[in-house]
């Protein structure tokens, strides 16, 4: 049927099917800013303005738009023009992955069309409909208020972040006499100082960094603000087929037979694949370095299903509707098997054996569903425990939660004109995907190209080869491009999640509260497959046993199969589980010992110069000894503690509200310590080449998943090469073009890939100096590269453009370019402090988080705006982890939380206040002193909230999420 409506102020006609959603119709017509995030109107990514109102288009028929006025983000500003709202969002750092951005910008327009002077509350209401999993809404709200000021015609000052003075970052010393990188970590004054000393070649003590440390806007922000076709699904290919996946309705079953004849006979169906059609190649789907950690217990399509949502078959058809119709015609004969959902039941004799296939590799004890075990220790824990003056033991439990990136998993596969398979995919690990998929589809790596466009959030969920193999099998079977995308429901049933843990801590202490022994015993639920299980678990052990100084530590863990959807990588990667337990445990001990919880922690915490004993016995890529070379924890505690007004903890009356007798107030905190990259394993690399005009192409394999890593890497290159960021053209994550990088995980990108970029830029800079010396008839001695110009000590100079022309066209022609790789044996931990203020309703058990403050020492923040954005976003995710998010199941193992409405991630209109602070230190092993910031923010909210609940009510909750009912029960028991 033909519909007529005004689309972006132009009369438009579209031919649509009666059943077609407005979302599909608009995307088909090329309005790519309208995004798909769910099918139930609950995420808001698909929103447009219809007659001035924000409406989700996924829950509307296209036909209903007939006669109406529709505005999409494309209609805000044409060509290279920027609408003031887009400008405000770009400048305020409101855009991370950018997937929610077009909808947020339209929501802002709807508000500002009505209200010139919006309040913060109105801004929160306006952004309420648009879920964002990246930002925690702090910067988008700033974007709204900034946009309002622009639209009122006001002068809006630039963001107030000063460049980092070199004195602060590199120390007030001359290059000739300063300490070297290795020795340069003495504090410049007091324990709590933020400053570390080292030298900066070619810079003088009076300089400031120009690009590093500046709140540069993201290099991809404009295209994201304009809603341009930047994501995997924002394209189509001639002849493209649509794939759909049939999943298991049973938690555990053997497939006796599958009959696909009816499905194949449906007109428009081009391929139906089951275990009968694809080779049985054993693998592990986690995007990890070669060789993938064992066990290898998966195949593309199996004759056994191990959870509700497991793969059964996949179809490619001319349309998605036909593909889904075909799924209903596949007849599967299941032999339903007993299932087990509790890891402690799963390891018992007689429990159903989940992996009885003979060809799995490296399962520790398949008969008892034990995927792997870890035992790591230093010192003599038993002796130290036995001799300790005081002993404590507590057990904590954490739940399964879902990454919930707003962009679902999506990939498009096709043969290119050279018969090479192109995989355009929303992934955090393009290089791992290329290597891992090759044996599954029977192609050599050389015939596969993986391209990662912009990605709508990952958070670990896309550190996985989750669907690429299925799409590739279909392209190989049909010879045609294939698009496979998860529905939101499949994100919950069939994607990855965070491992649930049961953790028991045992500690031995002296009477005055000094830790003598610490043991952590863990049972990790790895669901139906072992992927990421052992590495997440080892990180949990590292995180749980690193923060506090103790020679006698032991980690003893079992990684156990159950018939549940499979956990994988999720921001923090074992850290949030371990830190919920550890930081609750420390609080409990402090209270039992009647010590101030912060003082108790500070008496035991690791400090500058300390080594981390557990790192000598345990590590994701093997043990690598670690020493703390930068440490800003004390200042973090002070900053975040002051911001929450921690002093109130000492006033017992503050806990009560005379107006509301059912309310108790509480404050809680947690100390944070995370890792930076996997030492000895993670590697990144970079290529930089110089162009005619003195600009540079920077090619990196590093994967920007919305975190801003393209921008940060560009800043490192720009700083080193003495150019503004606009002169560095960043291109990333294309296995044919960019050099290798492990990908976006383990808090490694700034540190590892940034290290590679810095080395690479230094090499290019040396070549530039040599060319300048040639041009000026001098030596490179004492040359400085700044402001796009090389200057000699005697004041002569040449511009980069002149150098480029000379090198490319004039004499001894040469392409100035370099490549560099970086690996590190250091994994310098960022430190931080998380504080929470809460209210507990003692009649209902409802906990309301009022305010969260966090301060983090991430070394030098290369870009303070994106760094703070990382913290705010992580804290918002962590809030859901603390109080509400949980993948819930029925008795048969079928997930109940299958839509955003039920799973519920926090929206802008219900967020507590978040304040995030950076406490700069200088990490000698990091580029420009940087260490990681991406994950640490997710570690501390759950323990801080649990500790605050204890402060408010005296009840101790040892399992999360802290749902109203749990608090209510605990309060009842305590009465």
């Amino acid at each position: 049927m033909l519909i007529r409506f005004e689309l972006n102020k132009k009369q438009t006609e579209l031919e649509v099917a009666a059943s077609e959603t407005l979302l599909d119709a608009l995307r088909k017509a090329g309005f790519w800013s309208v995004k798909h995030g769910c099918e139930t109107g609950e995420c808001g990514a698909c929103s447009v303005l219809m007659d001035g109102k924000l409406i989700p288009t996924c829950i509307m028929l296209a036909a209903q738009a007939d006669g109406h006025e529709i505005l999409t983000t494309e209609g805000l500003a044409e060509g290279q023009d920027i609408h003031p709202i887009q400008k405000a969002f770009i400048e305020s750092g409101a855009i991370q992955c950018g997937y929610c951005t077009p909808a947020m910008i339209l929501a802002t327009k709807a508000l500002l069309d009505k209200e010139k002077y919006p309040s913060l509350e109105q801004a929160r209401e306006a952004l309420g409909p648009t879920l964002c999993r990246c930002t925690g809404y702090v910067r988008p709200l700033e974007g709204v208020l900034r946009a309002a000021a622009y639209l009122r015609g006001e002068e809006v000052p630039p963001l107030n972040v000063k460049p980092i003075p070199v004195e602060a970052v590199f120390g007030p010393i001359s290059p000739a006499s300063g300490p070297t990188e290795e020795s340069g970590f003495e504090p410049s004054g007091g324990v709590a100082t933020t400053t570390r000393i080292t030298t900066a070649p070619t810079l003088t003590a009076q300089d400031t960094t120009v690009v590093v440390g500046a709140p540069e806007t993201k290099v991809d922000a404009v295209k994201l603000a304009k809603g341009r076709a930047a994501f995997t699904d924002d394209m189509t290919r001639p002849g493209m087929l649509y794939a759909a996946m049939l999943t298991s309705p049973y938690a555990h079953a053997r497939i006796r037979n599958i009959d696909t004849s009816k499905a194949r006979a449906l007109p428009g169906v081009r391929a139906v694949l089951t275990y009968k059609d694809v080779p049985r190649v054993i693998y592990a789907s986690g995007g990890q370095s070669y060789p993938n950690p064992k066990p290898w217990d998966q195949v593309s399509l199996d004759n056994k299903v191990r959870f509700v949502g497991d793969r059964v078959a996949v179809v490619a058809a001319d349309t998605l509707e036909i593909a889904k119709e075909a799924l209903k015609l596949i007849e599967v004969d299941y032999e339903v098997l007993p299932a087990v959902f509790d890891p402690e039941e799963s390891i018992k004799d007689g429990a159903p054996v989940i992996h009885d296939e003979p060809d799995a590799v490296g399962i520790y004890d398949a008969q008892h569903n034990i995927s792997a075990t870890i035992l790591a220790q230093t010192g003599d824990v038993d002796k130290a425990l036995a001799e300790a003056e005081i002993r404590f033991e507590r057990t904590y439990r954490t739940q399964q939660v879902q990454q919930s990136s707003i962009e679902p998993h999506i990939c498009i596969t096709y043969w290119d004109e050279d018969d090479r398979l192109v995989i355009r995919t929303s992934t955090q690990v393009p290089y791992h995907v290329r290597r891992m998929i090759a044996p599954l589809i029977g192609l050599p790596v050389s015939r596969i190209r993986v391209v990662k466009p912009r990605i709508g959030g990952g958070f670990g969920g896309k550190q996985e080869m989750l669907i690429e193999d299925l799409a590739a099998h279909l392209t190989i079977a049909t010879g045609r491009p294939v698009r496979l995308e998860y529905t939101r429901e499949q994100e919950f049933t069939s994607a990855r999640s965070r491992h649930p843990f049961k953790i028991t801590f045992r500690a031995g202490l002296t009477k005055d509260g000094k830790l003598q022994a610490l043991e952590m015993v863990a049972i990790e639920d790895t669901g139906a497959y072992g992927v990421h299980g052992v590495t997440v678990c080892s990180v949990a052990g590292l995180r749980g046993l690193s923060t506090y100084k103790c020679e006698n530590v032991r980690f003893d863990a079992k990684i156990v199969y159950t018939n549940k959807p499979v956990p994988g990588a999720f921001r923090g990667y074992g850290g949030p589980q371990a830190l919920f337990a550890l930081e609750s445990f420390m609080d409990e001990i402090a209270h039992e010992l009647k010590m101030d919880p912060i003082e108790f922690r500070m008496n035991n915490v690791v400090r500058l110069g300390d080594s981390i004993p557990i790192a000598t016995a345990l590590g994701e890529g093997g043990p690598v000894p670690q020493v703390i070379r930068s440490w800003g924890l004390a200042e973090c505690i002070e900053r975040a503690g002051n911001a929450i007004n921690w002093e109130r903890v000492k006033d017992p009356q503050w806990r009560f509200d005379p107006e509301r007798p059912n309310i108790r107030r509480g404050l809680g905190m947690a100390v944070l310590m995370h890792g930076t990259a996997i030492p000895g394993l993670d590697m990144g690399s970079a290529v930089i080449k110089m162009n005619d005009d003195g600009s540079f192409n920077l090619l990196v394999g590093a994967t920007d998943i919305g975190t801003g890593s393209d921008t940060i890497l560009g800043q490192i290159a720009a700083e080193t090469l003495g150019v503004p960021l606009s002169k560095v053209i960043v291109y990333s994550s294309d296995t044919d073009v960019t050099p290798f990088d492990v990908g976006a995980y383990a808090s490694s990108t700034t540190f590892i890939s940034g290290g590679a970029v810095k080395k690479c830029a230094e090499d290019v800079r040396n070549q530039i100096f040599e060319r300048a010396a040639l041009m000026l008839g001098t030596t490179t001695e004492g040359m400085i590269l700044r402001n796009e110009r090389v200057t000699t000590p005697d004041g002569r100079s040449v511009t980069l453009e002149e150098i480029a022309h000379h090198s490319l066209h004039t004499k001894d022609q040469q392409q100035i370019m370099a490549t560099a790789s970086h690996m590190s044996l250091q994994a310098p931990p960022p430190f931080g402090a998380q504080f929470a203020e809460i209210e507990v309703d003692i009649e209902t058990g409802q906990v309301t988080v009022k305010k969260l403050t966090i301060a983090v020492d991430c070394g030098t923040p290369i870009n303070p705006l994106t760094a703070v954005g990382q913290l705010e976003g992580a804290v918002a995710q962590a809030l859901g982890y603390a109080v509400s998010e949980e993948m819930a199941y029925d008795q048969s193992g079928s997930i109940q939380t299958r839509r955003f409405g039920d799973y519920h991630i926090f929206s802008a209109d219900e967020m507590p206040e978040i304040q995030a602070f950076l406490v700069p230190t200088y990490e000698p092993s990091g580029p420009y002193g940087a260490k990681a910031v991406g994950e640490i923010g997710i570690d501390g909210v759950a323990p801080a909230v649990a500790n605050a609940v204890y402060h408010a009510t005296g009840i101790r909750l040892r399992d999360i999420p802290i749902l109203p009912e749990k608090v209510w029960r605990a309060l009842h028991q305590s009465r």
């Binding site: 209903q64 409909p129 309703d841 209902t844 309301t848 409405g901 749902l963």
Partner: protein, 281 residues
């Protein structure tokens, strides 16, 4: 795959009745609730868009408020009368029902067609003794909201359309209480009470609870216990006990049956006290 093969947007009641009354074709109006199922699961073959029938309105007369059935939930949030009258419970309930975008497409008819995400809106209608107007071409019939909700979709015969909801004005006070995982999450349990008081005597009581039975409903035993009684703290305690006892909740991931039953009592108590204080204040 959505079953929809045809789409109609009738311009008048006659053609609406004709299309909706066609035998043998699975025909239904497009009704979006605050917790809608995906379009691909809509099971009608013919989708009827009623937006041209003029059902998007709020009118006020001396009897009360008339809400056109295709009025969006957001209109309840935005229209001042819902903040100023009925002690603001309609505004609050509508706000809790969904986020703003969904509130712009979800309609009152959608909400009443699928209560799964709009428990609190149902409670406000139940507590205010709303009446629904059902229309087929020129014939109109009415039904009290409680009966309409209890009977569910069987209410409407072929060709009939839910056209209007009328909320009568009254001199009583309303109060809403809820518990949820987060401030904007769907309620675990919510209670709306209405009290008409003559001095301290309760002449009429309505107590409607969601999350404590398979669907939002009035708790008649609680109402009976309250009516014709002097308001007192012991009466409130008794009402709360009855609410807990009468609750027949289905537990889920938001809260177990036991918790929901307990909250039915706790929130009933709170709502009664709040209503009493509002009256006093």
């Amino acid at each position: 795959m959505s079953a929809i093969k045809e789409y109609y947007r009738p311009e008048d009641w006659k053609s609406a009745a004709e299309i909706l009354g066609r035998p043998g074709v699975k025909t239904a109006p497009i009704l979006v609730s605050t917790k809608p199922s995906p379009v691909e699961k809509w099971d009608m073959e013919t989708a009827v868009d009623l937006s041209r029938l003029g059902l998007d309105y709020i009118k006020e007369d001396e009897q009360g408020i008339h809400i056109g059935a295709l009025t969006t939930v957001q209109t309840l949030v935005d229209t001042p009368i819902f903040s100023t009258k009925f002690n603001g419970i309609f505004h609050l309930a509508a706000k809790h029902a969904a986020t703003g975008g969904l509130r712009n497409v979800a309609t009152m008819a959608g909400v009443l067609n699928d209560l799964s995400g709009s428990g609190e809106i149902a409670l406000t209608l139940l507590a205010s003794d709303a009446v629904v107007y059902i229309r087929k071409d020129q014939s109109i019939r009415t039904q009290p909201i409680a009966g309409f909700l209890a009977e569910g979709k069987q209410n409407l015969t072929a060709g009939e359309v839910l056209a209007e909801i009328r909320i009568p004005f009254s001199d009583g006070v309303f109060a809403l209480e809820r518990v949820a995982r987060t401030p904007a999450d769907q309620e675990i349990v919510a209670v709306v009470v209405f009290l008409l008081l003559s001095g301290s005597q309760i002449t009429k009581a309505r107590v409607a609870i969601s999350g404590a039975s398979p669907q939002p409903m009035r708790f008649l035993a609680v109402e009976q216990a309250l009516e014709k009684q002097e308001f007192s703290s012991s009466l409130v305690e008794k009402a709360a006990e009855i609410a807990t006892r009468e609750a027949k909740p289905i537990g889920d991931f938001r809260g177990s049956a036991e918790y929901r039953a307990a909250m039915a009592g706790t929130l009933t108590r709170r709502a009664l006290l709040k209503a009493w204080n509002l009256k006093a204040g």
